[in-house]
C-alpha cells in the first residue's frame, strides 16, 4: 500500500467533467443529474408498498410511467457515477472508510448534520426540479434562466450561512 495520490488539478478535472456533460448532450440529448434518482427511488419504494399513494403524488407519479422508477435514466446514471467514483478512488489509492468532519465536531453531530442537510437539499431540489447537477451544471450549460437563478441563489445561501457553521467545518 502506498500513499493516496493527490486530487487532480481542478481546472483539468472540470474540463473532464465538461466533456462528460457534452458527451451526454451529443449521445442522448440530455445532461447529467442526481436528485431525480433519489426522487425516482423514493417513488419506486412507495409504489411497491402503497401503489395508490405513489400514483396520487404529483412528485412520484411521473416516475411510474414506462419504463418505471427502476428503469429511470438518472438512477442508472447515478449508479454508474458510484462505480466511476469507486473505481477512480481505488486506482488513486484514495478509497478508505472514514467519517469526514471538522476538527471540533463530534461523530454523532456530523452524521446528524449530514442527514439533515440531505433532507433540506431534497426539499430544495424537489421544489427547484433539480440540484447542482441537473440545474446548475446541465441547465447552466444550456443557459436556462431558472438554472442560473438556482446556481446563484444556492451559492448565495450557502455563503450567507457559512459563518454560522464555521465551528462545524474549521
Amino acid at each position: 500500500m502506498s500513499a493516496p495520490r493527490p486530487y487532480s488539478d481542478p481546472y483539468l478535472a472540470g474540463v473532464g467533467l465538461g466533456l462528460v456533460l457534452l458527451a451526454a448532450f451529443v449521445l442522448v440529448g440530455r445532461g447529467v443529474g442526481a436528485s431525480g434518482a433519489f426522487a425516482s427511488t423514493a417513488a419506486g419504494v412507495v409504489a411497491a408498498v402503497a401503489p395508490a399513494r405513489a400514483a396520487a403524488s404529483p412528485l412520484f407519479a411521473p416516475y411510474l410511467a414506462d419504463p418505471g422508477p427502476w428503469g429511470e435514466w438518472l438512477s442508472v446514471e447515478l449508479l454508474g457515477a458510484a462505480f466511476g467514483a469507486a473505481g477512480s478512488a481505488v486506482l488513486a489509492r484514495r478509497w478508505r472508510v472514514e467519517l469526514e468532519r471538522g476538527a471540533r465536531l463530534g461523530r454523532a453531530a456530523r452524521v446528524l448534520l449530514a442527514f439533515a442537510g440531505g433532507m433540506l437539499m431534497a426539499a430544495g431540489a424537489a421544489l427547484a426540479r433539480g440540484c447542482t447537477s441537473g440545474q446548475a451544471l446541465t441547465g447552466g450549460a444550456l443557459l436556462s434562466v431558472g438554472s442560473w437563478l438556482f446556481l446563484v441563489l444556492a451559492f448565495a445561501s450557502a455563503y450567507a450561512l457559512a459563518p454560522l457553521l464555521r465551528r462545524v467545518w474549521t
Partner: protein
C-alpha cells in the same frame, strides 16, 4: 448525421447503457476533482479551497462552448436538447433551501454519492437524508404542487431574457468565468 444520436425514440437498453457510461465518467470526474470530500467542498465557502468554483466553471465553459460550436458546425441539433424549464418562485425558494442543506451536509446529491461510493460514511448519511427528504416531499406533494408552478416561463434562456445573441451571452459568461478564476487564485494565495 446530426446529434443527439439517441433521442427520445432510442431503445431503452441503448439509452440506459449510455446512462451507465456517462455516469461512470461523471463519478470519476467528480472524484478526481476532490469533490467527493466534504472538507474540500466546503473550503469554497470559507475562502480556503475554491475548487468547487474552478471545477464547475471549467465544466460549464467546456459544455457551453462545445454545444455552441458543434451546433454551428451543423453536427448538433440544439432544438433536440432537453432544456430545464424555468419556474422562478419555486426555483428561487428551492435554491435557498438547497444552499442551506449544502453547507450543513458539506456535499451535494451527486458528490454525496461519490463520497459514499469511496468509503465516506458522512456521504452515506447525506444519501440517506436525501432519500428521507424525497419520501417526505413526495408524500406531501399535493400540498406544494401549486406553489411549484409559480413563475412558470417554460423553456427560457439567458439570450431570450437579455434579448442578446447567443454568442454574446456566451462571450460574457466566458469573461465572467475568467475573472472568477483570477479572483479564486488570488483568494487562495491570500488564505495560504
Amino acid at each position: 448525421m446530426s446529434a443527439p444520436l439517441w433521442g427520445e425514440q432510442a431503445p431503452l437498453a441503448a439509452s440506459l447503457a449510455v446512462a451507465l457510461a456517462i455516469g461512470i465518467g461523471f463519478g470519476a470526474a467528480l472524484e478526481r476533482a476532490g469533490l467527493g470530500s466534504a472538507r474540500h467542498l466546503v473550503g469554497q465557502f470559507y475562502g480556503r479551497d475554491l475548487r468547487v468554483l474552478k471545477v464547475m466553471f471549467s465544466a460549464l465553459l467546456v459544455a457551453m462552448l462545445g454545444v455552441f460550436w458543434l451546433s454551428r458546425a451543423g453536427l448538433l441539433d440544439v432544438q433536440a436538447l432537453y432544456v430545464p424549464p424555468t419556474f422562478l418562485v419555486p426555483q428561487a425558494t428551492g435554491a435557498l433551501l438547497f444552499g442551506a442543506g449544502l453547507i450543513a451536509a458539506g456535499l451535494c446529491p451527486g458528490t454525496a454519492c461519490v463520497a459514499a461510493a469511496t468509503g465516506r460514511l458522512d456521504g452515506l448519511a447525506v444519501v440517506l437524508g436525501l432519500l428521507a427528504g424525497m419520501f417526505g416531499m413526495g408524500l406531501a406533494a399535493s400540498r406544494w404542487e401549486a406553489f411549484a408552478q409559480r413563475g412558470a416561463h417554460g423553456v427560457w434562456t439567458l439570450p431570450q431574457w437579455l434579448d442578446l445573441p447567443y454568442g454574446v451571452v456566451l462571450a460574457g459568461i466566458v469573461a465572467l468565468a475568467l475573472l472568477a478564476f483570477a479572483a479564486a487564485e488570488w483568494i487562495e494565495r491570500r488564505a495560504a
